[in-house]
């Protein structure tokens, strides 16, 4: 039986159907989860998709973290549930305190959408275990608030603990500290990433299929477990 990966839809989520497609193409079963429903329906992992939850009117992700579904995600993530936050989902994870730091307005002050070169720095997470260390990917980035910031101590700690999962190569699209594109928690089950791996899963619609690795990584882990 295919592993079941939930995709939470908040009001204003935009890439939820895209994340579900990526789960399916990677061989999993996508389960639609609703923000107002605390029940996670026994899923094996959760994706918090991109978008502008609640319009990002307060701060990106600041309201979504209080959704009933997030209360359950927080609780189960503490017990090892794999959670991937993409773009707005990364912002939600930071607001919820599952990951340190914050995502602020792009240094250019513009929304930016481009195919971005990335390097996988940590394969020690359930979402990146299938990549080779140092592997280079091309994955689209599209955000207005993707500028990762944290104190120097936090950044040093992330690096010392091998918790930077991916960095931007070439021009840094949003001014992110130390070119950070994604990070993980200490346990390795929670990953937040600003680029959109769910938009690099088909040659027809993306720059390639480099993004699939995030989803196949977790699926192989779930099957093995």
């Amino acid at each position: 039986m295919a592993a079941r990966i939930g995709v939470v839809t908040f009001p204003g989520s935009l890439d939820d159907r895209d994340a579900a497609r990526a789960v399916r193409l990677a061989g999993g079963e996508a389960v639609a989860l609703w923000h107002a429903d605390a029940e996670l329906h026994g899923v094996d992992a959760v994706v918090l998709p991109g978008g502008f939850s609640y319009g990002d009117y307060l701060r990106a992700g600041a309201i979504a973290r209080f959704a009933p579904a997030m209360t359950s995600v927080l609780e189960q993530a503490g017990r090892g549930l794999p959670v991937l936050g993409i773009c707005n989902g990364f912002q939600v994870l930071c607001e919820a305190g599952l990951l340190p730091g914050a995502l602020t307005r792009n240094a250019s002050l513009h929304f930016v959408n481009r195919d971005q070169r990335l390097r996988i720095d940590s394969t020690d997470s359930v979402w990146t275990s299938g990549f080779a260390p140092g592997q280079e990917l091309v994955v689209p980035v599209k955000n207005g608030e993707g500028n990762y910031v944290a104190s120097a101590e936090v950044l040093d700690e992330l690096e010392a603990q091998d918790r930077v999962v991916a960095r931007y190569l070439g021009a840094n699209p949003n001014g992110s500290a130390r070119d950070i594109a994604g990070i993980r928690n200490a346990a390795g089950n929670v990953v937040g990433i600003m680029p959109h791996p769910e938009h690099a899963v088909e040659h027809l619609t993306g720059p390639g299929t480099d993004g699939l690795g995030f989803f196949t990584s977790v699926l192989s882990r779930l099957v093995a477990a």
Binding site: A107, V201, L204, T205
Partner: protein
């Protein structure tokens, strides 16, 4: 209620002086209203007539010309034609698409961000109204000179507004157009296009029918924003105090619109809606009258039930408000609880504000007292219709006879090409399109810099559509009939170049004041040209929009018909990109090149010259070219295809090379045929042409197909290396071409994300004058 002008008051005070002229109504129009009602209108009624009889809503000056589009053969694919909010086209597999382009020009000059944002919001609601899920937006933008200080105010705001709204709705923007010309200095054009997809059997219409059915207002609260938008902003010429009209511009909230979209789609799926109409320009006035008029029904609305942002609003303000993100649905009483439940689920405000009643009057009550009592048809359908006088522009003969600038020598072409690819109208649009989400929804197959946007509609079969918009105000200034056809031909060619079969047309007709006979002549010629062109290409017009009064201080813009063409794919996997795909492939030029530089980008960019006649239009040739491009895609013969238009063959070769596979692109060795001078061959803008590449193994089969169909096909070279080598003419490294192509907009409007500021190529141009070389 004190202070509110009721129907009773109107009957009691027949001679009260009313400010109809300030509301944009003419003397005879006011007299006609009194005759329809048999009394003076109330203040609310006067507001409603001034809105519905405005140029923007009534099409009173354009109607007699637009009838030509309605007379075109509809073809079997068109399920809903002109007249509804947008046309609907059957695409097979039980699916249909609806698409339309609309202008938001004046608001975007007054307040660029909000004007452009609400332009996107408005066209998206038009598409939603038809029952469709919006899946793609494009925008066609025209600004003053690229280096004019006011362009630095307007362009970044418009681009951020288009992006800000569309990105937050989760709609891919596949590109569009950005054109610079001083004709648009005080009057930029912001034309937004949206396409939606729906099951064939889920088409929604606006008619309110069924006595006892409930009128439900969905979405945002109603405020004082946008009052006078259509009658003041969109239906009059700007004077010097343009930005002082800022309170007439609406403010958008894309998050509310996103929720409104999801709520409406869920209601459609559950078959809960009898009729629906968006509230756009003209707000509640338009939605109430159009639903009632379309259903030939009576309607009663209780205006005091409308949720307000400001409690002090008066009834005529509630009726005229253009607050965004609102829809009006007609539902049966038994479905009302389900409708309210879906609205609640999505956090969308839903309020029953009225009901469909016996008879044929639209009655609007304010705390129980009638403030409006009118036949809805008199507002929606029976507005004034004008046969405006026409006059061929007095300067047109001189303009068309103006001698062309001298052609450069062959030795000058290398420098010329570098300047041309860096010129504002031909340079890279990366600065703009990077601010748009081009990939959300995961179905974008082609987007800028490709010839057309292509989206997939079905993951299982690959069914999809292509969409392109084009327009050329310079061509239309020199010959509006041909100019409209050239816009149609270019969009048609762009769609076919991707491999899609062109099937239907939308248009946005941007012109000056209809009260100027010379403008009206341009309009009449352009509509006639477009109608004749659509007939020849068998592509029916399914909808569109007219924008008049695009003038500043009595000077009209160049007439600018923007044409959108929809194409169909049985399988998007066979789409053809513009970029060269492999070295060693044959480069073929399809069509014929003539010396056609009237209205060209070369004459403009190098000499600021606008004169002569535009390229000849040959629609039979366009049709054959499209057939060859589609057949080449279908049979897997083509590696790349790129339409030739502004900037001619030279520009197309550069774009195909820079867009070639790999990070550096793929170059080409070109040998120009004998005959016309290299300059003419490279920069002429003859229509009906494309440049394609084919693998050697397919070349014979492809050229035989061209021969069989009578399409001239000339082998002009081979893809190779990382330079563009036009033998005995020029040799340029792709890297240098790319630097020139990419630098211009960042130099003008700020660096791309992650880049440091590049040098300004315009500032470092020779002292003889920036863009005006020569």
């Amino acid at each position: 209620m004190t202070g509110v002008d009721t129907v009773t008051d109107a009957a009691a005070t027949p001679d009260l002086a009313q400010p109809y002229a300030e509301l944009g109504l003419a003397d005879d129009e006011y007299a006609a209203i009194r005759e329809v009602l048999g009394r003076r209108p109330t203040r609310s009624e006067l507001a409603m007539y001034s809105i519905m009889w405005s140029e923007h809503c009534s099409y009173k000056s354009s109607k007699v010309h637009l009838r030509q589009f309605g007379d075109l053969p509809r073809g079997e694919r068109v399920l809903v034609g002109m007249g509804e909010n947008a046309g609907v086209v059957d695409v097979g597999e039980g699916l249909a698409v609806t698409f339309k382009v609309e202008s938001h020009n004046h608001p975007s000059y007054v307040e660029p961000y909000q004007g452009a944002a609400t332009g996107v919001g408005g066209i998206v609601r038009d598409i939603l109204t038809m029952g469709a899920r919006p899946v793609l937006v494009m925008d066609s933008l025209r600004f003053g000179d690229a280096d004019h200080p006011d362009t630095a105010r307007v362009l970044p705001g418009v681009v951020a507004g288009v992006g800000g709204y569309g990105n937050c709705l989760g709609l891919p923007n596949t590109g569009g157009e950005v054109v610079f010309d001083p004709t648009y200095q005080g009057n930029p054009l912001v034309n937004a296009l949206c396409l939606g997809v729906l099951p064939r059997d889920r088409i929604q219409l606006s008619a309110a029918r069924g006595v006892g059915n409930v009128v439900v207002l969905l979405g945002a609260k109603t405020g004082r924003d946008g009052i006078g938008g259509v009658s003041v902003l969109a239906s009059a010429t700007f004077d010097e105090d343009g930005p002082a009209r800022r309170p007439s511009v609406q403010v958008g909230d894309p998050f509310t619109e996103k929720l409104l979209i999801e709520a409406c789609l869920e209601m459609y799926d559950a078959r809960l809606v009898e009729g629906i109409q968006d509230l756009g320009g003209a707000g509640l006035t338009c939605a109430l009258t159009e639903t009632a008029a379309a259903g030939r029904s009576g309607m009663r609305a209780h205006l005091d039930r409308v949720p307000l942002r400001e409690a002090s609003m008066e009834p005529h303000e509630v009726l005229a408000s253009e607050s965004q993100e609102r829809m009006l649905a007609i539902v049966t009483p038994s479905n009302l609880p389900a409708v309210l439940a879906i609205a609640r689920k999505w956090g969308v405000l839903a309020t029953a504000i009225g009901e469909v009643v016996e008879g044929d009057r639209l009655q609007v009550l304010w705390h129980g007292e009638p403030v409006v009592d009118v036949p809805p048809g008199s507002l929606a359908d029976d507005g004034p219709v004008y046969e405006r006088p026409l006059a061929r522009p007095a300067d047109l003969d001189a303009l068309r006879a103006a001698p062309a600038p001298a052609h450069p020598s062959t030795g000058e072409l290398s420098d010329l090409l570098l300047r041309m690819v860096a010129s504002p109208n031909l340079c890279s649009r990366r600065w703009v399109v990077e601010q748009y989400d081009r990939i959300v929804l995961g179905d974008t197959v082609l987007a800028w810099p490709e010839d057309a946007g292509v989206v997939r509609l079905s993951e299982s079969t690959g069914l999809g559509v292509a969409l392109a918009t084009d327009g050329n105000g310079r061509y239309a200034r020199l010959d509006p009939y041909a100019g409209a056809q050239l816009a149609l031909a270019e969009a048609h060619r762009n769609v076919a170049a991707t491999g899609a079969v062109p099937v239907a047309v939308t248009n946005c007709l941007n012109f000056g004041s209809p009260q100027d006979p010379e403008v009206m002549w341009q309009f009449a010629e352009a509509t006639r040209g477009l109608a004749d062109g659509c007939r020849a290409l068998a592509t029916p017009v399914t909808g569109g929009n007219v924008s008049f009064y695009n003038s500043t201080a009595d000077v009209a813009i160049n007439p600018t018909p923007v044409v959108g063409v929809l194409g169909l794919f049985d399988d998007v996997a066979r789409r053809t990109p513009i970029g060269f795909q492999a070295p060693g492939e044959s480069v073929l030029l399809l069509g014929e090149t003539r010396e056609e530089l009237g209205g060209s980008e070369w004459a403009w960019a190098e000499h600021r010259h606008l004169g002569g006649v535009p390229p000849v239009v040959d629609l039979d040739r366009e049709r054959v070219l499209a057939q060859v491009l589609v057949a080449g895609s279908r049979d897997g013969m083509l590696s790349s295809a790129h339409d030739l238009s502004d900037g001619g063959l030279a520009q197309a070769l550069v774009e195909s090379a820079l867009g070639g596979r790999g990070s550096r692109g793929i170059g080409a060795r070109i040998v120009l045929p004998a005959g016309l001078s290299p300059f003419v061959q490279l920069f002429s803008e003859s229509a009906g042409r494309a440049v394609v590449t084919v693998p050697r193994s397919e070349e014979l089969r492809f050229t035989e197909m061209c021969d069989a169909r009578g399409l001239p096909c000339t082998r002009i070279g081979v893809t190779d290396g990382v330079s563009l080598d036009v033998q005995d003419v020029l040799l340029l490294e792709l890297e240098d071409l790319r630097d020139a192509f990419e630098a211009t907009l960042p130099a003008l409007f700020g660096p791309l994300a992650g880049d440091t500021a590049p040098a300004n190529p315009l500032a470092t141009a020779p002292a003889t004058g920036g863009l005006h070389h020569g």
